[in-house]
């Protein structure tokens, strides 16, 4: 009798404990507006470069997107000129990484862009990533930094861009 009771309670506990929730978000767009890119003095030797970075979703209001814990894939990166800039033709290459600050884990490269000499003038750098990179390991950290390393004939004055990442992922509890 006691065994039966224990068995029944165990079964019920297992049933009621088996609660889970999972949401599949196929397209979440995160935009960092007005990212300031420090100007580079023209006296700099070689190809001048700048490495601005930002901490997306640091605000608690949008932190839910950080709830994506598994299969967080970056599908697309957009860099759009903002402020007084009318074009981004001066940028020769862009290298974007995702990392956790002060972590031994290395940064994960998510995009590499190189401007084509014959490409038309544009205020947008739009790169689709054919083989999306899973950044779940760094995305789930409390603080994630996205770093852009840009090189080219960069302006001497600070300038701003809007950076958009298109992600997919799963939220599970």
């Amino acid at each position: 009798m006691k065994l039966r009771l224990i068995f029944a309670v165990s079964v019920l506990a297992a049933l009621f404990g088996a609660c889970s929730f999972e949401a599949d978000l196929p397209d979440v767009q995160i935009t960092q507006r007005g990212l300031i890119v420090p100007g580079v003095p023209q006296t700099t030797l070689g190809s001048p470069s700048s490495t601005p970075s930002f901490f997306p979703l640091s605000s608690s209001d949008v932190a839910w997107a950080k709830g994506m814990k598994t299969e967080v894939l970056v599908h697309r990166v957009q860099i759009v000129a903002s402020g007084s800039l009318s074009t981004l033709d001066f940028i020769d290459c862009v290298h974007v990484t995702v990392a956790v600050p002060a972590s031994s884990e290395g940064a994960i490269p998510i995009m590499d862009y190189e401007r084509n000499e014959e490409a038309p003038s544009s205020s947008v750098i739009d790169v689709n990533i054919p083989a999306p990179v899973d950044i779940a390991t760094v995305w789930s950290a409390d603080k994630t930094v996205i770093e852009l390393q840009m090189a080219g004939q960069l302006p001497e004055q600070d300038w701003t861009v809007d950076v958009t990442l298109n992600l997919s992922g799963k939220i599970s509890y």
Partner: protein
Amino acid sequence: MRSSAQKIAFVGSLLAALIAAQNARANEQPNPADQTPSDAGADDRVNRVGSDAGAGQMPDMAPADAYVPQADSGLADIGDATAQSDAGELAGSTSRPEATHREAREISPARGADVGSGAGPSTQSEGMSVAAMIAPPLPKRLPIFGLMADVGVPDGLIGSLVIRPKKWVRFCAGGGANSISYGWRTGITVLPFGRGPSASLEYGGYQDGNANALAKKLGFNGSPVLDRVGYQYLNAHLGLDFGSRRFVFFIHGGVSVLWGQIHNLDAALAGAGATGTTEVLVRQDPSAKAVGPSVKLGFIGYVW
């Protein structure tokens, strides 16, 4: 070893033979003194036992002999042919009541009635009739079709048509509501013992409906996400079913899997999605899946 049916057939044959012998002896030894009130009572019993066939055969009989055909009606119950010939032989005999009196004692009213139904002169067929009469009645078949009503989570309130082709299995299909929209459900329940423990597997769904009113009733704020709430679900339940023939009460519990689309999440996050310099947009409706406990209780009334 003889079977019960053979034994009964033998007894039936024996009774028929005894009755025939009594009739013959009554014809040979008339005894008017046997006409007594008690005999009349016996005749009454026989009359009750017998069919109308015997009484209807001789409507012109004299009052004194009126009971004779009635008595013969008891014989007619044994076999129409025999009874008719007996009626012809005994029409004028005053000794007939004696014979019928004894016959009434030897053949119980119930037996007499059944023996007479359709039995011919053959003693074997008479015996078979007795056997058929004594054989235990066939068990009634279980009603197959029924109506079910149940309430639970995530099922809501569901009314279903139930089909029970076998005692140990039933199928159901129906529709209902969950305070948000209308839905449907179908399922199968297996009862290994016909009652008691049961296992059910059910699949159902609810179309999109506005859940804001329900949320407000429950004390929550409305949200664009609740404008369209619909889901499909799968139940895997164990339970107990009480009753089995006409009425069944059950309580089932187990695990359910729910899945569906979350609509308008972008609109819901529009306020909170743009804080400072960061903006989050959900450009495509997410699909959600939840696994959790579920329970329901209900009853079934089988109608046919």
